[in-house]
């Protein structure tokens, strides 16, 4: 069974004044196919850094620890190699790519991930179906990637990619932020569809418990100050809903 294993991960970021700051200070996490892990924590605890470090964003420097996918060293791979190995990051702030249409982008990405162009007829049908499921207008395909997208459209577009690219592991970085309840449901249904069909491991990074009503995690990890401060089952999320992060912060 595909396994994503994070061991004692230390990550720094370069600061504007020329110094470096350690953000992740020894993270351990093991993710298996079909599992949903929620990573929760206050702002600045390093949740997004974990997501971007796994995906290979050049801004972050790994100073210690390992990330392996079925034993393969993920940290030795380039960003695109990681994606082709089966990792997917749904970004909190997806970037505009002017002049590149969604349909061209999706086809290019699918071709890169699969190593061959998708069969035209089934591909067009799959895209149409996936867009339909996410309640996206067909004209969406001809718009430029993320250009003039609303917050909700950007998140749907991220989940659309997840459904079409079928990764082994998906990291969803605050996919719920900025969504109204209707959009949150649509996006959550997309994740649940992917779980039911291809069953990726999902690392669900969130600040709030709201999305956990729609996507059920088996594991909850509370992130504080660059490490996992506590972990448990879904009941941990329930207790967070009542007490918030205060008890972790005072202890830290």
């Amino acid at each position: 069974m595909p396994t994503l294993e994070i061991r004692d991960l230390h990550v720094t970021v370069d600061e504007a004044d020329g110094g470096t700051k350690e953000i992740l200070r020894g993270v351990d996490l093991t993710l298996k196919s079909g599992e949903v892990h929620a990573v929760m924590g206050p702002n600045g605890s390093g949740k997004s850094t974990l997501a971007y470090s796994i995906a290979g964003h050049p801004k972050y420097t790994v100073t210690g620890g390992t990330v392996t996918l079925d034993g393969e060293d993920v940290l030795a791979m380039s960003v695109d190699e990681r994606a082709r190995a089966g990792l997917f990051l749904a970004m909190q702030y997806p970037v505009e790519v002017p002049g590149v249409t969604v349909s061209n982008f999706l086809r290019t990405a699918k071709t890169a991930i699969d190593g061959e162009a998708p069969k035209l007829r089934t591909w067009v049908k799959d895209v149409k179906q996936a867009m339909d499921d996410l309640k996206m207008d067909p004209t969406f395909a001809e718009r430029n990637v993320n250009e003039h997208f609303s917050g909700g459209e950007k998140k749907r577009h991220e989940i659309l990619q997840m459904e079409l690219l079928k990764p082994k592991f998906a990291i969803l970085d605050e996919t719920d932020s900025g969504l109204d309840v209707d959009a949150l449901k649509v996006v959550s249904e997309g994740v649940n569809r992917a779980l039911a069909s291809t069953g990726p491991g999902v690392l669900l990074i969130t600040h709030y418990t709201r999305i956990l009503r729609y996507i059920k995690p088996q594991f909850v990890h509370v992130f504080v100050d660059g490490r996992v401060a506590e972990q448990g089952g879904p009941e941990l999320a329930d207790s967070l809903e009542e007490t918030g992060y205060d008890r972790f912060l005072t202890r830290a």
């Binding site: 290979g56 050049p58 380039s78 994606a83 790519v97 590149v100 982008f105 990405a109 690219l165």
Partner: protein, 408 residues
């Protein structure tokens, strides 16, 4: 975006740092020297041979352009015209084709070129005619020769036409282009600089926009050693709408210069200027000058100009100088923006995080950068050909770029 030198100017915010000339946005500030005062003349003696200290030549490689400043006889480039039946095409002397009613040389090269032109061409689209195919004018230069030429493009009232002027081959060429769009005409003129790598070219394109006419001028400069195209737009009467669009891709050692001057004197006219360029390699140099003058009489003018440069490697240089002079406050709007930046690392990360390899991600971004203008040319085969050329040029960067970008 990781900008290396970015200035985006709000019309209300004052002068950008890289504006070399006096800059005013209404409010009664009189600039030191108006763009309107620049000399134009048919007499080459009115223009000294440039030394490089002149405002209008200070960015140009004068050594490359030197043959084009010389007076005396010069040959004609090979010109071939293919046009739909409705179009009248004639060649002859400048006088025989009726040149010079909407064109006056504005610099030494243009005046010397005018004086040396023995064969000029007229492409005339009759009134009311709506062409179903483009007019194609091909200019082919020959290595080791200096040539001069003049093309008049005349669009009769309420006509609709697309004229493509393609420059190919080698040598040193001075080309005058005189565009006269009649009342209500809808005219697109595309000028392609697809020269061989050693060619030099100085061109002046004067565009006269008739009442309620709509003119698009699209310049695409990809080839040549040194290319300088000056495009001057004037309005014969109210209601005109002019767009000047351009794309360029400067490689190592290549100089590509585009100078725009939109002279608003008639009322209720619009202008929109948008030039986008990419640069790569040592001493790749792009120059964009965007002068817009709104004269006191030009009430209800609406104008915007924009230049964006994408610097792909170290060692390249982009000069971008927007300049807006406004002599009346009674306008609809006036603005300009200029931005020069590097590849956006966040865009590349986003695409690579979807499995797309770096070189392909760069290609997608550059294609997207140019697509908005190239696709407006109106001839799909030409748009596709230009995109292919751009991607071929870009492939050279990918090779050169990998060594410097492998840091993580």
């Amino acid at each position: 975006m990781t900008a290396v030198d970015e200035t985006t100017t709000d019309p209300a915010a004052g002068s950008p740092a890289n504006t070399a000339r006096a800059h005013s946005h209404g409010g009664g500030v009189v600039p030191d020297a108006s763009r309107a005062e620049r000399v134009t003349s048919f007499d080459v003696a009115d223009f000294e041979v440039p030394t490089g200290r002149e405002e209008e030549w200070k960015f140009s490689p004068l050594r490359e352009f030197a043959p084009l400043f010389e007076t005396g006889p010069a040959g004609s480039a090979d010109v071939e015209v293919t046009a739909p039946d409705a179009v009248v095409h004639r060649s002859g002397t400048l006088q025989e084709v009726g040149a010079g009613t909407a064109f006056t040389p504005g610099d030494r090269a243009a005046a010397a070129g005018w004086a040396a032109t023995t064969e000029a061409h007229l492409v005339s689209v009759p009134a009311e005619a709506e062409l179903d195919a483009p007019v194609l004018v091909t200019v082919r230069g020959t290595a080791g020769t200096t040539t001069s030429g003049h093309l008049v493009v005349e669009a009769g009232r309420h006509s609709r036409a697309l004229v493509v002027l393609a420059h190919t081959g080698s040598g040193a060429h001075r080309g005058g282009v005189e565009v006269r769009a009649g009342d209500g005409a809808d005219l697109t003129v595309v000028t392609l600089q697809e020269w061989d790598a050693d060619a030099v070219h100085v061109g002046q394109h004067d565009v006269l926009v008739g009442r309620d006419a709509r003119v698009r001028h699209i310049a695409v400069s990809l080839g040549g050693k040194a290319v300088r195209v000056s495009t001057n737009v004037r309005y014969a009467a109210p209601g005109g709408d002019a767009q000047a669009l351009g794309v360029y891709f400067a490689d190592a050692g290549q100089h590509l210069e585009h100078r725009l001057f939109v002279d608003h004197e008639a009322t209720n006219c619009k202008s929109y200027v948008e030039y986008k360029g990419a640069l790569q390699g040592d001493d790749a140099h792009a120059v964009w000058i965007g002068d817009v003058l709104i004269r006191a009489a030009a009430e209800a003018t609406e104008t915007y100009e924009l230049n964006r440069n994408l610097v792909l490697t170290d060692g390249a240089r982009a000069d971008s100088v927007p300049n807006l002079e406004i002599e009346t406050g009674e306008i609809v709007g006036a603005g300009h923006a200029s931005a020069t930046g590097r590849f956006d690392d966040e865009q590349l990360f986003y695409l690579q995080a979807r499995g797309i390899p770096e070189d392909e991600a760069r290609r997608l971004v550059v294609r997207g950068f140019f697509a908005g203008i190239v696709e407006r040319i109106g001839v799909p085969e030409i748009s596709e050909r230009l995109m292919t050329t751009i991607e071929t040029e870009l492939a050279a960067t990918a090779l050169a770029g990998t060594s410097s970008t492998e840091e993580n």
